[in-house]
Symmetry: C2
Subunit: 273 residues, 2 copies
Amino acid sequence: MTEIDAPPHPFTAAVALTPAAGGRLRGRTRPEYANMVGPFGGITAATLVRAVQQHPDRLGDPLSLTVNYAGPVADGDFDVTARPVRTNRTNQHWMIELTQDGAVATTATAVFGLRRDTWSDTELAMPSVPPPDAVAVHGFPDFIAWARNYEMRFVTGAVPEQGAGEHPDSTSTLWVRDAPARPLDFPALTAMCDVFYPRVFLRQGRYVAAGTVSLTVYFHADAAELEACGEDHVLGTARTHRFSRGYFDQTAHLWSRGGTLLATAHQSVYFKD
Amino acid sequence: MTEIDAPPHPFTAAVALTPAAGGRLRGRTRPEYANMVGPFGGITAATLVRAVQQHPDRLGDPLSLTVNYAGPVADGDFDVTARPVRTNRTNQHWMIELTQDGAVATTATAVFGLRRDTWSDTELAMPSVPPPDAVAVHGFPDFIAWARNYEMRFVTGAVPEQGAGEHPDSTSTLWVRDAPARPLDFPALTAMCDVFYPRVFLRQGRYVAAGTVSLTVYFHADAAELEACGEDHVLGTARTHRFSRGYFDQTAHLWSRGGTLLATAHQSVYFKD
């Protein structure tokens, strides 16, 4: 329980937006969530979800999100505009832009909506892994600032040592939670969908220039299921289907410890070798 | 080889766009590609790819596409606007809208770009299936107009008879090509990413109200790989990870007969039971 006067959690501070002129929202990059160049893509995606959530016309909770990383986000202030393009009875379509000095750095679309009780089933099997306490904490190299905000316990596919050599498959599976721990919500889940480092690093056993071009998240969990996760670890697993001529895909699945499939996420990644 | 005076292939006609006022493109829904309500979502997605392809400022070929089906498309004329939001050295980000009488029916974002030779690898295994000639042609019920434009040979997970009863898993795998046959190109591949009927039909063994909300395609193949497919069959396989409270996801993989992973696609689908 947060004390009244405690500073906000670094994640909460990083996704905070304040109203600005012309219906825009103003945010600011945080050094805590910096990547090699610009901010961690996950924090940008989470900020765009936050922008819709705090819009007065918002209907329901996120169902899907696509974020296109069109250009670099410079350290400092940025503006976000979130526009409801079409509101139906049970869902709502959004277009979102992040700009700096009038130049578009990031575009996104999102679908929010109301859920109804229906027949439900999870067909995908949760990976069989040891519990988080049985897996050592092992994060990213310390110079990746944003990763210091996550407690990561890799079951398989930890970040390779530079020059580790080629690895036969691209799968990483890890327990992850915010550090310090923080109750799971839609922005936090969104950011966790992007904690998987570029799969080419694992396959090649070395760092190469790589960056997410487009990220899509499907939110399977409703607000009650997220709330039930509390501050507990989330199990994430990610892999690539094909690396081809400068681009590859990454698919990720995120599970609650209890076996709820919280989200599936997909991204297209640019790389140089 | 098409004769000079032959009418265009129905697919080519369905994705055709002509310049209109204000930089817009004008298209028209075709009865050949009608779905239960409005046009087949795949033909809409293909038309949006076509809109970018014929834009004078277009850079390279499609890398990723997200289409949001915000509202119904009525039979008749529609307008498409495709706007390059940001052009980088090797890729280009697009925002696309389809409107009718000024109301937004469909929004999309796309990334186009140039490919470079890099280390490449396909990690996903192609399903082991009999060749197309060894699988019977079995399509959709005849009242689904658009499906008559595809030759479908289901290896598993054919459209269930109404009242077939529950089925334990959501996977369909089929050989598919345009009917009549047509050389594969990016719009045709895009449409094929959406030929998989709603997975809830298969699981429930009956038709329910269902419709795609958002579709994302990652194009793994380059133009030369598509050209090499010619008019041959494409192998598609699709499944759901989770059905939950009115929505489910579908992930699809499309392969050339020779084992090239052409595209992976993902969608969020609304359903009522």
